[in-house]
Structures are given as structure tokens and as C-alpha cells.
Amino acid sequence: MKSTDIKKLYLVHSWVGLVTGVLLFVIALTGAMSVFGRPEIKIWANPDIRSGIDIDTQRIETLIETHASHLPARFHEEILVFMPGTRSYANLRILFEDHENEEAVYLTFDNQTLEVIDRQDGTPREVFAQRRTDIADFIVDFHADLHLGRPVGLLLTGLLGLTLMASIVTGFIIHRQKLKQLFTFRWRRSTDITLADSHKLFGVWGMIFHGVIGFSGAFLGLATVLLIPAAAFVSFGGDQDKLIETFNTTPEPVLAQVQAPTRIADALEHALSYDQDMRMEVMSIYGYNDKNAVIYVSGVGSDNVSRQILKYAGAEGHLDDVFGQFEKVGGVTSYILDLMFPLHFGNFGGPFVKLLWTVLGLSTALLPLSGLMLWIERGVKAKQSSVSLNTYTRFNRLITGACGGIVLACAALFPTQLYLIATDTIHNTGFIIGCVFFSLWLLAIAWAFLAPSVSSAAKHILYTAGVILLSVLPLNTLITGDSVLTSTVNQQWETLIADVTLFVLGACMVFFTRKGVKASQSATQANKTQDDTSSAPTNTATQHVVRLGD
């Protein structure tokens, strides 16, 4: 490729990174956290389910029977059972839905006694909206749409997936010595060399992963906002409902209007033992107590990677079929569509794969950050720069505040959840979590601009985040009584691993911030000594570096 073309691509790479870098860091960091959102953080955030839940299939069948008998028959059209602690809900929840009148009754049960602890009536949209949010829901939703609502938020995150892919492609072309860059990392050279090496290293080694995350992220973000309407426009004259109906793998059966008890317990029992690696999330029952009733049970984590749906004949309770979510699309496309979600969140293959996805997700976050910092370092050192030193300084402060602030806000989510557990009287938990999260993030950005220097702002933000993370373990012991010892004895592995991991992360954050501060101080001291002893006039670039890092 011609050097002029490489230069053009370099410009594209730089500008895409400059415009989207901070947001990409935010999305990737929260994405790395979201990998463990459900069910690990969900279980940690709800002490009631930390010891695990035994699903008694016979009791669930009796429960549905009891409550269905108290509701008009029109509410038997569809019954949705949400397994506790597997996805969005800590408690067992059952939704009775009347499709024709768009009415629903939503019951929440105590996991131990199976008594109704909450009842919501309204349209399905209304009853789903009234849920008690915890930090797992908050962070997963933030990663999906930045809490900007849909479609704006989804559109934005989808576009960010596309810009990540554009950056990967342009970065791959402009970096010529890829094999050499695979193993080049110079620790003790200048800041810009270390930054350049880390940017290339994260980029080249994680290229396939970043590409997969970018592509699947773009798909998940844009699917409902752009892709479905576009597909409906092309093939169904703009009728989206018809498109969904055509490709729906869980259609409603034609009812026989002949009474036959639906064998929920048998189907659920079989589903739970079908694949030990699979986590059952939702059970849908269509045409309850009709001869043609159908039960669908869906779960994730099987060896097939994609979400699996098990179809049972309701009256007999035997397995009819097993298929993926997009099977009706047909061909290779259905296979690819089924892979999008597990590829993005790494929810196949158990905790080992999740850990792998988190570490690589953090490298995706570090990729734009190292790129942005490199741009600043190079710009400051350049003899002729297109922008002023003040612009670089302000941009540096913005990156420090926004990126450091999101780390701080994410760390603060854990003590916030413990506070909500301790009080237990606050109903609108999502509002409190949001207030703490966004306030801290904004405060960090403001402090980055107000602090005497960028390095001092970064130091304060990271120290605070470290201390907050260190405090989670003792706070959890105090508030819930689940210490390291009791969690080990009671085999509450999610709680134990979360507490210890947060403590280690906090300790590392404090340690490395301290180390970084010392290194920065000695570098500043060395520069001052050099300036004092040298009689030659100091060049502008050195002044810039000292002023930025001071």
C-alpha cells in the first residue's frame, strides 16, 4: 500500500479514536464487569440467594395450579416462569398473561416459603418496568444502552461497535511490523514508547477478540433499532410483527379446547437434568391445561455455545425438540445469529470462559485509552503541533476524569448495594444506584478539571476507588454477616470470590497508584535537576512534558 494511503488511514484511525475513545473505554470497562453481572454479581447483590436455591419442580407445578385457578381462564394463554437468581430476578416470578387484552398479573414469591410477596397488575410492559433494580441489572443495562433509553442508547452503543471495528481494520493496516510488535514491550523507556508498545500489543494479540466484540456489539445494539425494521421493510412491506411471527421459534399452539393437565414438573425436571452446564432461565407455558399445551424452557451455557430452547408437549411432559433461538431463519445465518449473544458476553463454558472474557474485555478498554494517551504524548512532544498545549491539557483532564471516574463509579456500586441491603426500606433502588453512580462520575470529571494537575487528580480518583474496593469485604461481613470464613463453610462461592477479588483489586489499585506516584515524582525530580544543571536553553517539548505530567 502506498505511504499516502497509509497516512490517510492513520488519520482516520486517529480521528475515530479521538471522537469515540472515551466512550469506548466506558462501554468496554462496564462490559468486562457485565460478563459476571448475571448471575454472579446478581447473587452477591441478593443475600437471600447466596446459599443457592433448590428448585422443587413439584412445588412450582402446584404453585402455578393454585394461582391459575384464582385467575380468569384468559390469563392462562401464556404463563412465564422466571427462575430465581439466574437472570434478572432474585426471586421466583410468575407472569400470567392475557394476550388479547394485553393484561398481565405478575407475582413474586419468597424463594423459601413460596408465599406471594408482591403482585403487579397491568400491561406486560408496565409490570416488567416495575422491578427492583440491583447493581447487576444497573451495570448490564448501562453497558447495553448507557441508560439513555431505547432506541437512542442502543443506537449509540451499536455505532460504537462499528467504530471499534473500523479502528481495528485501520490499525491492522497501518501497523506494518505486526510479528515484531507481538513481543515488543519496552517498560523503562519514555512514556510514549511504553504507550505505543502497549497499544500495539493489546491491539495485535486481542485483534480477533476485539473484532468479535465490536461486531457482536454492533449487531446487538442495532438489531432492534435498525436491522429488524430494515429486514421488515425489505421482505415484509415494513410489517415488523409479521417478520417476528415468521421467525418466531416459540409459536403459540392451536388449542384443542380439550382439558388435560399440563405436566410442568415433569418437563422442568427433565430440563434441569438435560445438560449440567446449562443454566435454565425462563419457562413459557402456552395453553395451560389444554391438550395441545406447549412448554418451552430456555437456558444458556451449554456446549452448543448458543442459547438452547427445549420444547415439551405439555399434556405428556416429554421432550419434543431442542433448537436455537434463530433456528427458523435457516442456514448459516441462524447459526451466526445464535452465536452473537454468547460471543459478546462469554456465557458459555462456565466461569473460566467468563474470566477470560473479562481479562480480554479489559484489554479492549485499555486499547482506546492507550491510544488517546499516546496521541496526547506525541502531540505535546511534536515540534509543530496542530493544536495548542492548553487543548492537550484539557483533553488529558477530560480523559482522566471520564475514564478514572467510571472506574470510581463502578467501584462505588458495591458499597451502594450493601447500603440498600442494610436499609431494605427503599423501593426505588435503581434511582439510588443511578444517583451514586452518575454523581461520582461527574464529580471525578469536575475534579480532573479543578485539581492542580492531571496526575494529582488521577492519583486522588484511583486512591478513592482503591479504598472503596478494599472496604467491600469488611462492609459485607458487617452488614450481611457473610465473612470469608462463613462463605467458605456455607459454600457461597460467588460471594467469596467477589469479596476476595474486589479486595485484591483494591489493594492492587492502591499499590500501583502509589508506585506510579513515586515514579512520577522521581521523573519530575530528575527533569528539574537536569534543567538546573544544564546551561543550554530548555526546548519547548520538554517543558510541555513536565507541565503535563506535573
Binding site: L179, F183, L201, G206, L343, F352
Partner: protein, 81 residues
């Protein structure tokens, strides 16, 4: 058993990459590069066998990326400093 095989695959990848990186920090020696790639492929195949083709391939690719980053960041003996 699966976990043991994954750990073996991990160890193989790590050792393979360390050999690949070599004393000089860069992949100057073709023999070492080949040995490293061979170990990488072996671990890749073993993972695919453990997890079934698709999941194994995905994990293998992701593991190579992660191990590569870790090995590259660890200073090589001759290039450190």
C-alpha cells in the same frame, strides 16, 4: 478432567510463548518461533477436544490472545531494562 486438560493447555501455551519470545525479546530465531507455534496449535487442538469444536476453538483463540499479552508484557531476560 476437563479442568486439568485446560490447565495443561494453558501451561503449554505459556511455555510455548515464552520460548517464542526467547532470550532476546523478539522473534528473531525461526526455530523457536516454529516450536512456539507448534505448542500453540497443540494447546488449541487439546482445548477444542475438551470443549467440543466450536467452544474449544473460541476459547483457544481467546486464550492465545490473553496469554500473548501476558507473555509480551513480562520483560524478557535480555531485553528487560
Amino acid at each position: 478432567m476437563e479442568s486439568v486438560l485446560v490447565l495443561i493447555a494453558l501451561a503449554m501455551q505459556f511455555s510455548g510463548l515464552m520460548v517464542l519470545k526467547s532470550r532476546h525479546g523478539l522473534t528473531a530465531h525461526i526455530g523457536k518461533r516454529a516450536l512456539g507455534l507448534m505448542l500453540l496449535s497443540l494447546s488449541f487442538v487439546s482445548l477444542s477436544l475438551v470443549y467440543g469444536t466450536l467452544a474449544g476453538c473460541l476459547i483457544g483463540i481467546a486464550l492465545i490472545g490473553m496469554m500473548g499479552m501476558i507473555v509480551s508484557i513480562v520483560p524478557a531476560r535480555a531485553s528487560a531494562g
